[in-house]
């Protein structure tokens, strides 16, 4: 009896699915889905490598400091970094005095519960990067986690920073309605191709590097992307280091466990 019921229930689901499938197929044939402009012109991030890539990669502190400089002088005008505290910067090679000096260069607003006043004062090492007031078009995201919050992470930020270009004529020929609206900027690495952020890194030596590295647009984009890998995952180096120690131990323990297993089963045929 249960098997008869089961076959009827099975037929109910399969027929309902066939009905959906048939309707879907009919719609697909009568109105084939047309290609969207995003689908046709969106590009995958460029192939770019960072010192911290791979299981053996480590952060390059020189690069992270250059990247921080780019963040501070370019990105910080619009983008906050609220999960990072100034004290965290010690991890990328700044000494105590340098950390204090960096903190002091930021104004930290504090809301007074009793009076309702907002007073700003120079930051100290334990403060976090302050919020950024932005009144323009669009909503600049906080950058602390950006390389973990986008597919392809740092390769994406690097591609976006170096990917600004004029809208291809071919695009407008194919999609006449897809002209980039006023106030937006065309970038094939952005999900819907047009974003509010104007090209932030526009010319070589926009940021003055002090370690002898040539500050090309490409280099600056790469450095700030490396810095944003660090802000998103400051414990990355420690994680991989720990990982190797753990895997080494486990490999050893597993070999021992295998030998114990063979030893226990010796004489029991079939194993």
């Amino acid at each position: 009896m249960i098997r008869i019921i089961s076959i009827f229930v099975g037929l109910f689901f399969t027929v309902a699915l066939l009905w959906s499938l048939g309707n879907g197929a009919a719609a697909f044939i009568s109105e084939p889905p047309h290609e969207t402009v995003e689908h046709a012109f969106h590009k995958h991030p460029k192939d770019v490598h960072f010192a911290s890539d791979g299981a053996l990669g480590r952060f390059d502190n020189q690069q992270l400091q250059r990247g921080f400089k780019v963040y501070k002088e370019v990105c910080a005008a619009c983008h906050a970094l609220r999960h990072v505290a100034f004290r965290d910067l010690a991890a990328i090679g700044y000494n105590e005095d340098e950390v204090k000096a960096i903190a002091k260069s930021f104004e930290i607003p504090a809301y007074n519960q009793a009076t309702g006043e907002v007073k700003s004062s120079p930051g100290i090492a334990t403060d976090y990067f302050p919020p950024v007031a932005y009144g323009g078009q669009g909503s600049p995201p906080d950058l602390s986690l950006i390389t973990k919050a986008r597919h392809d992470g740092a390769a994406y930020t690097y591609s976006l920073l170096t990917g600004y270009q004029a809208q291809p004529a071919e695009l407008l020929k194919k999609f006449p309605d897809a002209k980039t609206p006023d106030g937006l900027h065309y970038n094939p690495y952005f999900a819907n191709l047009n974003l509010a952020m104007p090209q932030p890194i526009t010319s070589d030596d926009q940021v003055t590097y002090t370690d002898g590295t040539k500050a090309t647009v490409d280099q600056m984009a790469k450095d700030v992307s490396a810095f944003l890998i660090w802000t998103a995952e400051p414990k990355l180096d420690k994680r991989k280091q720990t990982g190797w120690a753990v895997l080494g131990f486990l490999l050893f323990a597993t070999v021992l466990a295998y030998m114990a297993y063979r030893n226990v089963w010796a004489g029991k045929k079939g194993h």
Partner: protein
């Protein structure tokens, strides 16, 4: 509760004798996972996953309890408290990654455990109760994992919660009030986050309770085995300890290597980037997808795109998604073949592998955006999924001619069994 030849617990030390007379806890352990539990001697590596699932549950409870000490279940600060764990709590990043990837590892292990059960028909008499409790554990795991994913309060947390609780809205007449009652509001917010946290903390202990029943029920008939022939004699079994403790120890090592490689070198590979964006009720992500372990069922949910007579497509999808798991409860009675193991069932075996591929296809489609060709592929795959359990299995088990079975486990392992000449084959060949 066990075979007559099971070794008896004999406490040696005076303290253990004293304890055994008052609270025989060591005896319980001895009989459950010690030398007092005779187990078929022919178990293959597919029988490692029960112990591994138990290990994963313990791992999730330990890491979860510590994470709960640092996490704040409040919609205003939940996201930041997770980042606090990642950055400021000593080894917090490791705990959180261990817990998040631990959920994935748990599901990998449990899916293998379940499909082992499908292939070897572990659900058949006299083991129906073990199977029923196992399916119940799986349902509890899904509920727990879903609520856990909401806790970081990222974009996928929020929108996942919205979609899944929205499923209850498909129930006719009372759907919307039920949805609002479950959420404590019109959309996921602080009330929902708080109750999800509370239940996410509670359910693992409920799972642990059902696991105890699952293992208890297992110890009544004893473990199944790859031949599907029941244990007949002492030479068919070995004591669980040291034979299977040693084998499970090795299995645990292999499992941990894979799990730790994921945890330390690709901890975000199985997660979605959008969950590192704080929840924003005003911005819908382009593609809302659940965690990978829900993908096959998510594909079934989305496969119903047309109303079926008077049943709205959404309700049909919800019914089908839940039925896709509920159907497992009926397996012991749908599959009537007297032969258990897929090794001796040539027809069943082919359909089993089609089901494996079908489930993988459903999983792939469930993770893909809801557009063609994925919708049509998932519709075809869902048709097979339901047909497999509800139509093919009852028919195959009725018409299939199974291969001859070995007389006993001993014969299967050693090639011969002296007792075999004295007795008829385990299953008449005409069955």
């Amino acid at each position: 509760m066990s075979f007559p030849w099971a070794q008896e617990y004999k406490p040696q030390a005076p303290l253990m004798q004293w304890l055994d007379e008052r609270l025989p806890l060591p005896r319980l352990v001895y009989n459950a996972v010690g030398a007092g539990y005779p187990v078929p001697r022919n178990l293959n590596y597919m029988w490692n996953f029960g112990v591994l699932a138990g290990f994963c549950l313990a791992l999730q409870i330990v890491t979860g309890v510590i994470l709960a000490m640092h996490y704040a279940a409040n919609a205003g600060v939940a996201f930041d408290s997770v980042e606090h764990i990642m950055r400021d709590v000593n080894w917090g990043w490791m705990l959180r990654y261990a817990h998040a990837n631990g959920a994935s590892a748990f599901f990998v292990v449990v899916y293998l455990h379940i499909f082992r059960g499908f292939f070897y028909s572990s659900y058949k008499a006299p083991r129906e109760m073990i199977w029923l409790l196992g399916v119940l554990i799986f349902l509890l795991m899904m509920a727990t994992a879903f609520m856990g994913y909401v806790l970081p309060w990222g974009q996928m947390s929020f929108w996942g919660a919205k979609v899944i609780t929205g499923l209850f809205g498909a129930i006719p007449l009372v759907g919307e009030p039920i949805q609002q009652w479950l959420l404590g509001g019109f959309a996921p917010d602080n009330a929902a986050l708080n109750r999800f946290f509370s239940l996410h903390f509670l359910l693992p202990f409920v799972i642990a309770g059902v696991v105890i029943l699952h293992i208890w029920a297992l110890h009544i008939p004893g473990s199944s085995n790859p031949t599907g022939v029941e244990v007949k004699q002492e030479s068919d079994t070995v004591p669980f300890h040291p034979y299977y403790t040693a084998k499970d120890g090795f299995g645990l090592g292999v499992f941990l290597i894979g799990y730790c490689a994921l945890l330390f070198f690709a901890p975000n590979m199985l997660g979605h980037p959008d969950n590192y964006i704080p929840a924003n009720p005003l911005s819908t992500p382009a593609h809302i997808v659940p965690e990978w372990y829900f993908w096959p069922f998510y594909a079934i949910l989305r496969a119903f795109t047309s109303d079926f007579f008077f049943i709205p497509a959404k309700l049909m999808g919800v019914l089908a998604m839940f039925s896709a798991i509920l159907v497992w409860f009926f397996l012991p009675w749908l599959d009537r073949s007297p032969v258990r193991s897929g090794h001796y069932r040539p027809m069943f075996r082919k359909f089993f592998w089609v089901l494996v591929i079908d489930t993988l296809i459903l999983g792939y489609c469930g993770g893909a955006p809801a557009e063609e060709p994925y919708v049509m592929i998932s519709q075809v795959a869902a048709i097979y999924y339901f047909a497999h359990f509800l139509i093919i299995l009852p028919i195959v088990s009725a018409i299939e001619r199974p291969a001859p079975l070995p007389f006993s486990i001993t014969e299967a392992v050693l090639g011969k069994d002296e007792n075999a000449v004295l007795a008829p084959p385990a299953v008449p060949l005409s069955a």
